[in-house]
């Protein structure tokens, strides 16, 4: 069945499966196996289920919490982890706190809904660390609203926005296309290029009233009216007001990058922004201060959240990132003592040493509980550059700072057997010290530090059950408690497992006139996938002559066999058509992509790098095709993470 669905020959699949599971041969618990994936795994309408499957496999094999184990994402940007940690997604606040819904009429209701209660399956006790949610949330509110957040006004909880619907990326553009979203701030995101179904996104911008773009270069979004296919006449009819703000590049700003291993690494300014360009925080601060001034002078429906927002920076119109980082770490608002740490007092105004000190009574402020401990009274922990590795395991505890609590491997209690002895003594991470009656180790134990092994507390302390989730509880996932194989929304075959429900029943498809989905019966018989090249970084390196020199033009990778059948020679132009659009570029004929036997059918796949568009050095010289690759891809999204299906859709190909 695996062979029928994936096209991987049976013997090859078994060989790989045998190799991966061989680490536990004969009950050997010493070895660890890792799964490292690029985010292509997530770019399917069943992407979350793929990641779930990997997690289940690792749980069953005992590869979680182990040095050299885990499910590790290679993320697409240097700071995607940081963006997610800091709530750069519509449905979470910093530290993965949930965002309130309209039904959360007060703080107590919200906390009751979002604070999990422990559940204790069988013999396992449960730490249920998320039971601290009220401390994290109140401290977050105190960091936002300071003195305006008081016990009697629910710590300003009513100031927070309540999210009534899905505002994820693809939805937002759909709302704009349907005329409901009237304006867009685009910072560091080339919206036209990055989302699926570019044509629809370009048309959506035509309908917007205004667009603010903060970028290093003029890009496809800030000049969407120059998209191929828009005539001079059409251009004259576009009434969108576009404001372009010259931003600063990564080397012109300090601050942190948070990598996939959760390390906060401070970086320094290499050179000042050129000309009139400004750093992001100055641009945002100036807009905010202007908006606040307008609210102050003219009032408004609900000015309190704007007027009361904490903005106590030395330079209000250009807050330093050091100050922001300290604010995120959190500080004491009153003298604090902790029963578990007798004799230690954190004085009011001092930086907090970690999230264990957070309070739900308004005596602490913290912008993101996970980052608490990153900038303490001892200084900026993320600026540390210690290269010592005392355990020899590659822990490097003094290099930068890893959330949570500078812990390098999460759930590391699972690296020990139930009695608290490491599965592999040679590579021991943490262990139970009987003499000291606590957990100690080469890494910071990810566990209740004084919980005796005999107490049987589960190692997965962030789950209310305390154990790993092979079968997920109700409503944890939109598409069910256990992974299931679905075909992409556009697939060359019907799902051999259940042809009547071929694809994910809860995957989101859109209904606009431009959201069309193709079938093999209509002639869309080639599988297409999109990807990046190592030579380019998304859409802006095409403004750098060096990168353009490395890969000067867009191309379509075509399997050699398919090229032979169709008489396509390398370097000649081919036309790729999906139900949504057309893409023309030169063919790169390669032996690297081979035909697959999918459900008994010889199936070809082609690949298109996503970088080129209609703005850039080669583009401006008229040297490339000008089409965004995402003109082809469908707006169909995973129901959990809302990631579009870039990694498998249907096209046809012909000589152009």
């Amino acid at each position: 069945m695996v062979e029928r669905i994936t096209g991987i020959p049976r013997d090859q699949f078994l060989k790989a499966a045998d190799l991966f599971t061989s680490i536990r041969k004969g009950g050997d618990m010493k070895k660890a196996g890792t799964i490292i994936y690029a985010v292509g795994w997530t770019q399917h309408t069943f992407g979350t289920q793929i990641i779930r499957t990997a997690a289940i496999l690792q749980l069953i094999l005992g590869n979680v919490g182990r040095a050299g184990g885990g499910v590790n994402a290679l993320r697409g940007h240097s700071n995607i982890q940081g963006a997610t940690d800091m709530g750069g997604v519509f449905d979470i606040f910093p530290g993965y706190l949930k965002i309130p819904a309209p039904t959360d009429t007060d703080l107590a209701t919200f906390l009751k809904r979002t604070t999990p209660t422990p559940s204790k399956p069988n013999m396992w006790d449960s730490y249920n660390y998320w039971s601290n949610t009220p401390k994290f949330m109140v401290s977050f509110l105190k960091s936002l609203y300071g003195d305006a957040a008081r016990q009697e006004n629910d710590f300003a909880f009513p100031y927070l926005p309540k999210i009534d619907r899905n505002y994820s990326w693809t939805e937002m553009w759909d709302y704009m296309y349907n005329g409901q979203v009237k304006g867009l701030f685009a910072f560091g995101m080339n919206g036209v290029m990055i989302g699926p179904n570019s044509r629809k996104n370009i048309d959506a911008l035509k309908k917007a009233d205004w667009l603010v773009v903060c970028e290093l270069y003029p890009d496809e979004t800030s000049e969407f009216w120059r998209a191929p296919g828009i005539s001079k006449n059409d251009m004259a009819k576009i009434n969108t007001t576009v404001y372009r703000l010259p931003g600063a590049g990564f080397a012109e700003k300090d601050g942190t990058f948070v990598n996939s291993a959760r390390w906060l690494q401070w970086k320094y300014v290499a050179l000042p922004p050129p000309g009139q360009a400004k750093v992001d925080q100055e641009i945002l601060a100036r807009i905010f201060l202007k908006v606040r001034e307008l609210y102050r002078n003219e009032g408004g429906k609900f000015p309190d959240p704007i007027l009361n927002l904490t903005w106590a920076y030395t330079t209000p119109e250009n807050p330093s990132f050091a100050e922001v980082a300290k604010e995120i770490n959190g500080r004491a608002l009153a003298d604090l003592t902790e029963p578990t740490q007798p004799g230690v007092t954190i004085k009011a105004g001092q930086q907090l040493p970690g999230f264990a000190w957070l309070r739900d009574d308004g005596t602490t402020a913290c912008g993101n509980w996970l980052y608490s401990g990153s900038w303490t009274e001892a200084g900026a922990q993320m600026q540390r550059r210690g290269t010592e590795d005392p355990s020899g395991l590659g822990v490097y505890p003094n290099w930068a700072w890893s959330w949570p609590a500078n812990r390098r491997v999460m759930y590391n209690r699972a690296s020990c057997d139930p009695s608290g002895k490491p599965w592999d003594y040679e590579r021991r991470q943490v262990w139970w010290n009987e003499a000291q009656q606590k957990w100690v180790g080469n890494d910071v134990p990810d566990f209740k530090v004084d919980s005796k092994p005999q107490d049987h507390m589960g190692p997965f302390i962030m789950n209310p059950e305390g154990v790993g989730r092979i079968f997920a509880p109700l409503a944890a996932f939109a598409d069910g408690p256990f992974p299931e194989h679905y075909e992409p929304v556009e697939s060359p075959i019907a799902n051999p497992l259940h042809p009547n429900q071929s694809n994910n029943p809860v995957a989101k498809k859109y209904k606009s006139d431009l959201d069309r989905y193709g079938t093999p019966e209509e002639g869309f018989n080639i599988v297409c996938t999109t990807y990046r090249l190592t030579e380019h970084y998304h859409y802006w390196t095409k403004n750098n002559p060096m990168n353009v020199q490395l890969v000067p033009e867009p191309f379509v990778e075509v399997p050699a066999q398919l090229a032979d059948e169709m008489g396509i020679t390398g370097g000649e132009k081919v036309k790729v058509t999906s139900a949504r659009g057309v893409y023309v570029a030169k063919a790169m004929v390669t032996k690297g992509i081979k035909p697959m036997m999918i459900d008994g059918k010889k199936t070809y796949q082609i690949g298109i790098p996503i970088h080129s568009g209609y703005r850039g050095i080669a583009e401006d010289e008229g040297r490339t095709s000008l089409d965004p690759a995402n003109q082809l891809s469908p707006a169909a999204i995973d129901p959990n993470a809302y990631t579009p299906e870039f990694k498998g859709f249907l096209v046809k190909i012909e000589r152009a």
Binding site: V551, E553, V589
Partner: protein
């Protein structure tokens, strides 16, 4: 390197015993070791090379390949050659970083007729000194790896310097610093050969590449850039790496035969001049043309006066 050697201590005042480090063997020969099997073809080395050498950007064209351009150029010293290869029916990329090999016996240097245009340092780096280059291009034909390239504008020849300017300051070459996978290494020649051999053994014993080996061709005395190849028996697969590189015989001949022969000819010429002088005597000054008739008596008169 030279600094280190000149500042080596010879004597120490009032010091009991021998001078520390005296007689110790010092490694001066350097090498770049390229593990072709862990290269991902990202071209970071190409960029680092262009940027360190402050080269202008070239306009390139798409040519049905990931390879940036067909060959290295006078302002593009470092190029990854991309080869699509099938092994037991499975596809694999062969990606080889191509640049000057810094041969122990450099064909370019042998071929070069210009005094001081090509030097080989004691550390093994072969470096072109463009101020002495006469642009004859002999080095190009002398190279078994097709590396030196002519700049038609300046009429000089250029190639990878192994970042002799960086290495001289104790830094690794720019390409090494930029490599994100660690497939590029730099150190003493013996360390690099040892590291490469270890890797080749690992590939043979653990990764199923029975023919894995180190490329350090002895036909030119070894090189200061060495490779680990999945299949060292077929270096040609890797974008035309010669299995037995040779300096063209005209240049080896020139050095060992033609040049002495030329010297002999020159000596013979000098001898001929000498014997001609002895046998025929010196060439006397001759009047350019006979003097006019009326002037003759004066001359005779003058000669007469000279006589005592």
């Amino acid at each position: 390197m030279s600094d280190e050697r000149t500042l080596q201590i010879q004597q120490i005042s009032a010091h009991p015993g021998t001078v520390p480090g005296q007689g110790a063997q010092r490694e001066v020969e350097v090498a770049k070791y390229i593990d072709v099997t862990t290269c991902i073809g990202c071209k970071a080395c190409e960029v680092a090379c262009v940027e360190w050498n402050d080269h202008p950007f070239r306009e390139t064209t798409f040519d049905n390949t990931y390879q940036t351009m067909p060959t290295t150029e006078w302002n593009y010293y470092n190029l990854i050659k991309f080869v699509e290869h099938e092994r037991d029916g499975n596809f694999m990329w062969l990606m080889r970083k191509d640049q000057c090999m810094h041969c122990a016996d450099p064909g370019c240097l042998r071929a070069c007729p210009a005094d001081g245009a090509i030097v080989q340092y004691e550390n093994g780096i072969v470096d072109f000194q463009q101020e002495n280059c006469i642009g004859c291009g002999y080095c190009i034909s002398g190279c078994p790896f097709d590396i030196p390239k002519f700049n038609p504008k300046t009429k000089k020849v250029f190639k990878c310097t192994l970042c002799s300017d960086r290495v001289g300051q104790g830094l690794e070459p720019a390409c090494i610093k930029a490599c994100p996978t660690g497939c590029l290494h730099f150190g003493t020649k013996s360390d690099m050969v040892a590291l490469a051999n270890t890797r080749a053994k690992q590939l043979r014993e653990q990764s199923g590449f029975q023919n894995a080996g180190v490329y350090d061709p002895q036909s030119i005395g070894g090189t200061h850039v060495i490779y680990v190849l999945h299949d060292a028996t077929q270096p040609e697969l890797y974008g035309g790496l010669p299995s037995n590189p040779q300096i063209p015989p005209s240049y080896t001949g020139w050095k060992w035969l033609a040049k002495p022969a030329g010297l002999v000819m020159a000596a013979l010429g000098l001898l001929a001049v000498f014997f001609h002088r002895v046998a025929v005597g010196p060439k006397l000054p001759q009047p350019e043309e006979p003097p006019p008739a009326e002037a003759q008596p004066d001359t005779i008169e003058a000669k007469r006066k000279e006589k005592p």
